[in-house]
Symmetry: C2
Subunit: 305 residues, 2 copies
Amino acid sequence: MNEFEVTVLGCGSATPSLLRNPSAQLLKAAGHFFLIDCGEGTQVQLRKNNIKIQRISHIFISHLHGDHYLGLVGLIQTMHLLGRKNKLTIVGPADLKEIIEIQNKYSETFISFDLEYINTNPKKSEPVWEDEKIQISSFPLRHRIDCTGFLFKEKPHPKSIIKKELEKHRISISEIHKLRLGFDALDENGNRVANEKLTTPGPPQKSYAYCSDTNYFEAIIPFIKKVNLLYHEATFLESELERAKKTHHSTATQAATIAQKAEIKQLLLGHFSARYKHTEPFLLEALPIFENTWIAEEGRSYVVE
Amino acid sequence: MNEFEVTVLGCGSATPSLLRNPSAQLLKAAGHFFLIDCGEGTQVQLRKNNIKIQRISHIFISHLHGDHYLGLVGLIQTMHLLGRKNKLTIVGPADLKEIIEIQNKYSETFISFDLEYINTNPKKSEPVWEDEKIQISSFPLRHRIDCTGFLFKEKPHPKSIIKKELEKHRISISEIHKLRLGFDALDENGNRVANEKLTTPGPPQKSYAYCSDTNYFEAIIPFIKKVNLLYHEATFLESELERAKKTHHSTATQAATIAQKAEIKQLLLGHFSARYKHTEPFLLEALPIFENTWIAEEGRSYVVE
C-alpha cells in the first residue's frame, strides 16, 4: 500500500457556516491517518466521510485561530469516551497544551490514552516527526499570529531488485536488504557489485505541503519546492487584495504565483471567505498563472499519484 | 408580544453524531433570546434555524462537560468577527471565564463587546438574573461534576383595567399605573377603591425549567414545582437504569416521575444517548407516568401557551 491522499473536511474561513466548515483535512500517508487542523465540527465531518477517528495518530494544528483548532478538545474527549488506548500526538503551537489541559481538568476528563505534545517553532523550519517511511517538518507562515505550514515527505522507497541480475552476478539473498536501501552488494567471492547493476529505483517520493492562513510570503518557497501537492489558502480573489493584505490572507492569484515559483506539481486552493458562494472564480483566477489547480471541496479526496 | 418558546438545537448526549447535535436550546422569553447550553456545532444549528446570533443576550451553561459548552468560544468569536457591540452575559460555572479568556488571549482576539460573567452556585439555588419581566435562577443538579439547572419565570403581568368600572367609580387616569401593578386606587374624593373591583388579572406567568445532566434527584422538585414546561434529560431508557446511575444520568421513567411529582404542566425529554436511533421508546416509557410528554427534536419549537 502506497496511499497518499488528502481528504478535505473543511474549506471555509473564519466562522462555520451552512456553506462550508472551518479548516480540517485528513492526510493518509505512509500508513498513517494525519489530521491537519481541526476547526469546530470536524468530528462530524470525520463521521460523514466514514473516517475512523481512532485511526488518527497525529493531529497537526497550524495556529490558534478558532477556525483551525476549536474542534480539537471535543475530538480528544470523544476519542477518550470511545475508549481509545493508543497514543495521540498533537503537533502545534506550545500554548495549545494549556488550552487542552485546562478543559480536560474542569470537565474532570482523565484521558484514557497518552497525549503527546510536540511544539512547532514559529520562527524557523524544524522537523517535527518522522518514522522509517515519512518525515514531517513545520515552517513559518506569515499571519496575524504565529502560524506554521507543514511538509509531509515520504522517505526514499526501497529499490526494486532485478532478480535476473542477482543470479547472473551470484549475489546471495542475504545481500538484498542492503541493495534495497541503495548500498552495493558483495558477490559469493567477496567482490563488490554496484547497486545500479542490480536494482531499479523505487517509486518516487511523494510530498504534500499544507499552507494555511498566510500573507503572500515568498520565504516559504524553499520549504515547498517541487512538492507533489501544495495546499495554499486563497481566502480572497485578487479584487479583494487590500483586504487580503490587511487580514493576513492570500488571494487566488498569490497562491498560484507561489505554486508557479515553487515549481510544485499540483495546487489545491481552499479557506474561502464566506463572502464567496461559488468557488469557480478562484479556479479561473489561478489557472492562467498555474495550470494544475484544484479547488477544495468538502468530502472530496485528492490523490497524489 | 408575549412569546415564550423553546427551540431545540441539539438533543444528543456525550458526542456530536450524524444523528444528533450536543445540547443547546434557544428560549425566547420576555423579549430576550436566551441560549441554554452550547455544545459543539451550535453556531451552525443557530444558522440552520434562522436565529440571529446577535439577538442572543445571555448564554446559560449548565456545566463543563464538553457536550454542553464546547461551541461557546467559537460562538463568542463569531459574534466578535461579525462586529457585535452589545453586551453578552454568560451565566455558568466560575471556571468558564478562564476557559474563554485563555482562548481569546492565545488567538489575540480582543472582543469588541462587553462580556459579563455571572457565576452559578453549584451548592444552592440562587437568582442569577432578572429584569422587569422575567426572573432567572439556577439550582443544583446531581451529576459527575458540578451542574445546575435553570428556572426562567415571568414576573406577574400587569393587570387589565375594566374601563367601565373606572368611570363608574370616578377613578382618574393617573391611578391606572398603580392599578395595573395590583395596588388599590383612590377615587376623585380620595376614597380607596379595591383593586379587584377595577381590574382583571393579567395573563398567567409562564415558566420554563431546564434540567440537563442529572441523576434522579428529588431535591430539584421544589425549584421546578408546577412549571409550565420542564426539560429533563432522559439519556437512557429504564432498561439501562444501572448505566444511568453509574454515569449520573436519568432514564425516561425517572424524568417522567420527577415531572409527575413536581406537578408540572408539560414535559420535554432530551439528551438521548447515541445508542438509541429512535426516540419513540422514550415517549412510550414516559407516557404512563406523565401524560403531557414531548420528545425533543432538533429544529422544533415548543411554545408555552
